[in-house]
């Protein structure tokens, strides 16, 4: 049998090897950022940047571009806010992430013989710390609502706005701290492959900051592959707007891992939440609060109200002292599908009802009760303060009921009240395991739904017993390997046919995350799921790669979930497509596409392909394309892309 590399051109191999030099080899300068960014600028990977103890604003009209591989290592209080009308383009890659961290995190950024891993984002060590710098806040012009602004009206209006939490207005009406408006297609820029570590320290107030704060971002903003590691307040908080979010990894958060409010209407897919602790402090308790906390609006009768769909979440709580897996407040409507909820310390469905900040809960002023939202179809909602109907602007949900938990696995949620609310929603008798036809929910199966999880010995933090996750293999196992249904082909969701955030045999954490650098998750196989894909008749075809690419090993490349008996192509390349045209993850050019035909069960297997001598660090980008008329409008489907790196 031919080796995978036997057909590769030698020149191309040499070129690729030349690209794997680590950024630590470059001479870095430390640059202090001490004033607001009024003129567009680029932060380059050969320097390290320090938000020098101040709240730095990217002011309207300015664009901050951050090169892949750039590290921003800031002192306490340093923080970055992108105002409405400003842009941020922080475009890291799977091999060269952008890292926001603190200057104390020397193992990540400082090239110094005293800590030899410094400067290499793929290495480092976890510390029990946070509050070492601020955060990134981005403010946009999409619709939201907030009841503390006197001129805001209860209904949807382009005039409604909010003043961003944690920022201080320079004068009354200061537009630099304001978010909200009337443009749901607003573009605040793009974030990809960005890791935020050890943050949450506000510059001048006693408050804390979320790892990433997103205020009223429009659909024109692109955000995917973002990690928050150790933040003292929420991990990611979203206020209003409708930006879609994909590939989020959130660890050791001192408050809610994912917090949503003020009428968010975007879609979310592929999220890993691992509750732990970082540091004890005043607002965020230093240990996790709710895994996911969703408020409808600041008061529950305001519009827009949060209405969202989340697919493929892997939510791992704190089994002894954690709070809710999902918290519901002030009219929130959420569909959780194809997800894993495990090791929760409290309720799977936690009905807080109110936010403790003046909100009056579900059912206020004629709005739907919490129970109503579980039996009301997605396109038929409350008319209170609504422009003709609350479906206004609401594009995230396109089937089912306003509130839903379907096709999920619930595992090892041992609190006596873990399922009390879930099995009797709002006291109505509605039971997520029996009241929804074909709900596909799996409650407390025998087999663990992920491959492996290891925890440290219990410790007490903030008066609570914490069992920190030390190693995690979040890939699906048992009931999580195959889902009953999959996400709709709506142009955003990937039609993943599994439960949880990761495909079988692969993760998308490799190469760019602190979780991998710190050894919590492994990339020993050097097989990285790059996502992408185009849905066909059976969801998105899945490419799985198994077997390390090293001398003496063999690799198997397997396609499944494709339309049966259809022609297609296997694409392999040394480089990633820059344009991603037609869904292409590998760049075309070095090797011709390999024709193939799927089996009657929609599969195709290549290998096992044996490896001979191979240079380490060679990147191979793989993907399948299959003709499929269900792939509207392109008439073909595409698998996820996979990066296989030789060892």
């Amino acid at each position: 049998m031919k080796s995978l590399l036997q057909t590769l051109k030698p020149t191309a191999v040499m070129l690729s090897v030349g690209l794997v030099a680590l950024p630590g080899a470059l001479t870095a300068q430390q640059i202090d950022i001490t004033s607001d960014i009024t003129e567009s600028t680029t932060w380059t990977a050969n320097n390290t940047y320090n938000l020098a103890g101040q709240q730095i604003y990217v002011l309207p009209g300015a664009t901050l571009t951050i090169e892949a591989g750039t590290v921003i290592a800031s002192v306490e209080g340093g923080s970055l806010a992108v105002t409405r009308g400003a842009k941020i383009y922080a475009l890291g890659t799977e091999n060269n992430p952008i890292i926001f961290t603190s200057d104390d995190d020397v193992a990540t950024w400082d090239v110094n013989p005293l800590h030899p891993t410094g400067g290499n984002p793929k290495t480092g060590s976890w510390r029990e710390a946070a509050l070492e710098w601020g955060n990134l806040t981005i403010m946009g012009r999409a619709f939201m609502n907030e009841d503390e602004i006197g001129t805001n009206v209860p209904g949807i209006s382009a005039n409604n706005y909010g003043d961003m939490e944690g920022l201080t207005a320079a004068f009354p009406g200061d537009p630099n701290v304001r978010y909200g408006g009337g443009d749901d297609l607003d573009n605040s820029g793009s974030l990809s492959y960005v890791s935020f570590r050890y943050g949450g320290k506000v510059a001048s107030l006693t408050k804390e900051l979320n790892g990433l704060s997103l205020g009223a971002l429009g659909r024109g903003t692109d955000i995917h592959h973002v990690e928050i590691m150790n933040n003292v307040d929420d991990g990611i908080e979203v206020w209003g707007g409708c930006v879609d979010l994909k590939y989020l990894s959130i660890w050791n958060i001192g408050d809610d891992s994912l917090d949503i409010d003020q009428g968010y209407r975007g879609r979310i897919q592929f999220v890993l939440i691992v509750q732990g602790y970082s540091v004890n402090d005043s607002q965020g308790s230093g240990v996790g609060d709710n895994c996911i906390e969703v408020d409808g609006s600041e008061d529950s009768d305001r519009q827009p109200v949060t209405t969202t769909t989340m697919y493929n979440m892997t939510v791992i709580g704190q089994p002894i002292s954690g709070d809710g897996m999902t918290a519901w407040r002030d009219g929130a409507r959420v569909q959780y599908r194809n997800s894993i909820f495990m090791d929760g310390g409290e309720a799977v469905v936690r009905l807080d009802n109110v936010d403790g900040d003046g909100g009056q809960g579900y059912g206020h002023n004629g709005t739907l009760s919490f129970g109503d939202t579980w039996t009301t179809t997605f396109d038929n909602t409350s008319s209170v303060n609504a422009p003709a109907s609350p479906e206004n602007f609401y594009q995230a949900q396109n089937a089912g009921f306003l509130s839903e938990m379907t096709d999920n696995v619930y595992f090892r949620n041992l609190n006596a009240a873990a399922y009390t609310q879930a099995e009797n929603i709002d006291g109505t008798g509605f039971n997520i395991f029996s009241s929804i036809p074909l709900n596909n929910n799996v409650k407390e199966p025998v087999g663990q739904p992920i491959v492996d999880i290891q925890r440290a010995a219990p410790v007490t933090r903030g008066g609570l017993t914490q069992i920190r996750v030390t190693t995690l293999d979040p890939r699906p196992a048992n009931d999580a390997l195959v889902s009953g249904d999959w996400a709709p082909a709506d142009g955003f969701f990937n039609g993943a046919r599994y439960r949880g955030a990761f495909a079988p045999n692969m993760t998308w954490l490799c190469g760019w995350t602190a979780s991998t650098a710190f050894g919590f998750t492994s990339d020993a196989d050097k097989i990285c799921d790059l996502g992408g894909g185009i849905q066909g008749a059976f969801g998105t075809p899945r490419l799985e790669v198994t077997g390390a690419a090293t001398n003496g090993s063999a690799t198997t490349i397997a396609l499944s979930n494709a339309r049966p008996n259809r022609a297609g192509y296997f694409i392999i390349s040394f480089a990633r497509s820059e344009e991603n045209s037609f869904g292409l993850v590998p760049a075309l050019g070095a090797l011709p596409p390999v024709p193939m035909v799927t089996s009657p069960s929609g599969e195709f297997v290549l290998g096992p392909l044996p490896w001979g001598p191979v240079p380490p660090g060679l990147n191979l980008y793989l993907q399948f394309f299959v003709f499929d008329e269900a792939g509207e409008p392109s008439l073909f489907s595409a698998s996820n892309g996979v990066l296989l790196t030789t060892k």
């Binding site: 009024t38 567009s40 600028t41 309207p60 009209g61 300015a62 664009t63 571009t65 009308g85 842009k87 383009y89 475009l91 001129t151 009206v153 209904g155 949807i156 209006s157 382009a158 005039n159 706005y161 009406g173 537009p175 630099n176 009337g182 297609l185 573009n187 820029g189 659909r219 692109d222 879609d244 994909k246 396109d379 609504a386 422009p387 003709a388 109907s389 479906e391 206004n392 602007f393 609401y394 594009q395 396109n398 709506d490 142009g491 955003f492 790059l530 996502g531 992408g532 894909g533 185009i534 991603n580 045209s581 037609f582 869904g583 292409l584 993850v585 509207e632 409008p633 392109s634 595409a638």
Partner: protein
Amino acid sequence: MQVAIKTSSGKIEQPVMEYQLELLDYGFKAVTAIPKYPHIKDRSRAQYLVVNAALDLNQPERALAYSDRIENWRRGLGYADTAYYQAERGEIEGLEKLLDFAMQFAVEQSSKPNAQAWRVDRVRMRIAKTRALLGQVDEALRIEASVVPSERGRLGAALAERKGESDFDAQLASLEELFAEAVFGQMINARQACLVLYSNNYANRDRRDRLDELLPSLYRKFPANVRVELSVAMASIALEQGDKTRAREHINAAQGILDASKWLPETGIPLSAELAALHFRAGDEARARRYLELALTQYQAEKKRIINIDRAAVLRSVAEAYMAIGDGDAARRVYVQAIDAGIENPNSRPRAEDLSATCISMSIHEFNPGAELMNRINQICSGLTDPW
């Protein structure tokens, strides 16, 4: 990829003044100077606005030439808009090829990892609208059925344009059904269909009265700005029909909504300016002038509350209103202010976007800037450079 499209659209190219084309070219040049990386989204959006302006001025060949230079999904939108323009005028030569190219760019965009459906579906709906105009209603409906909900409802205007008077009741029922379903995005999109229906049936008193009653009621729960815009559009149609009495009723309704609501200056001033122009058209010049003076006074008073990249847009709306009331001198003063406001921000991306928008505004509203101001525009355009 450059696409060379030959269409018959030259036949329907309408003559315009040379300065109008020069302004469009400056507008396109300014935003095309914006670097693609990382600004491709904003650059393409701004380029597409110039394509729209070219079509507004009946310059489809120019619109195509501009579209060819857009480098993201909005190029497909430009082709589809041009195809629709041709279909509206019965010029079908080369139209299929244009639709093919539009679909090609739609497909390419739809296939990108992390693509967002509304982008490609916006192109597909333009194609569907064109198919509807060409009589290919089934195909149009098939496309519409497969797009995301927010993009639906855009077919209504095209179908309304195509259908004859005998379809009035069916169209009205269809719109009422759409509103009964109450999906906001669709209802916003359906507004144009409502207005086409209103315009086409204005001469029929019974139908006009029905629509006069029905349309405001359909939108009564919408945000104030949507209701103002609807009344403004209905007033404009009444004025086009020479019906100043009815127009004044719509204008007063809009003014009532405007006065009863609280507005941020960047939202409220443009609406005031638009209403002022309508007051003039309805025969009340004194009121129009008074409102425009008030708008400028409000702008000066609240300028600090408007971020500098939003100021030129506010001023452009007032300048356009002055053009509408025939006061070119006042318009010139305000356009000059708008150009100055457009370069208050130190970055060339917002400067280019503002300059382009001001050029489009002048061109569409037939404001001849003259040699001196044109030279200033050229200087600003040529001076666009780092920082972007």
